[in-house]
Subunit: 116 residues, 2 copies
């Protein structure tokens, strides 16, 4: 049994998945893996996510200590930047491995997988 921030997981793998699982978290981390991005920059890179969902996932990642949220202005228009924390940076090899497998699989199995 593993514990992280009060939550319990039955296996070392499920601990990781508890933090980066779900439909969008790895995508966010993939785009933040080597840069800092503003909210709207992330949205443009992920055109099919809704504002609400992106907002919720960013908040969850922030609460788990994986990303930083930095606000630069006090009045609208706001400027908010997201980046990886030190803990988040340790996830880069994991996210890269996940992304690489997607690319690899599409290349090796063109009969069942394609890049559109």
């Amino acid at each position: 049994m593993y514990k992280f921030k009060g939550k319990e997981y039955p296996c070392c793998a499920s601990l990781t998945m508890g933090l980066i699982g779900g439909k969008w978290k790895t995508v966010i981390l993939f785009y933040l893996r080597n840069t800092t991005l503003r909210y709207n920059e992330l949205r443009k890179k992920m055109p099919t996510v809704t504002e609400r969902t992106l907002s919720l996932q960013l908040k969850a990642l922030e609460e788990d200590g994986i990303i930083n949220r930095k606000v630069y202005t006090s009045k609208p228009p706001l400027k908010v930047e997201y980046s990886l924390t030190a803990l988040g940076k340790t996830l880069i090899p994991v996210v890269q491995s996940i992304a690489d497998w997607g690319v690899y699989t599409v290349k090796e199995n063109e009969a069942i997988a394609t890049k559109v």
Copy 2:
């Protein structure tokens, strides 16, 4: 846009997560990564999953071509073994990376994470 078995994913990372995401799939793959296991052997390694959920997750992994299901008997008591397919074996580094991060994080952050 990426396609795999008819499903569409907006990013190479989400393709992978579509196949191994969810609460239990990576745990199953973790235990199958270097061996073949029977249904009940998996259950014993994952005591907190219900029969129904384990069964559904195994079926989903089988349909995606990640694991093999081999039946050895025709009458009860049945003997069924699960193992990785060739495609499933290509996921081993990914699963290992996910599992390793869980172990690493528990070791490096004992204040917020522990192995019970």
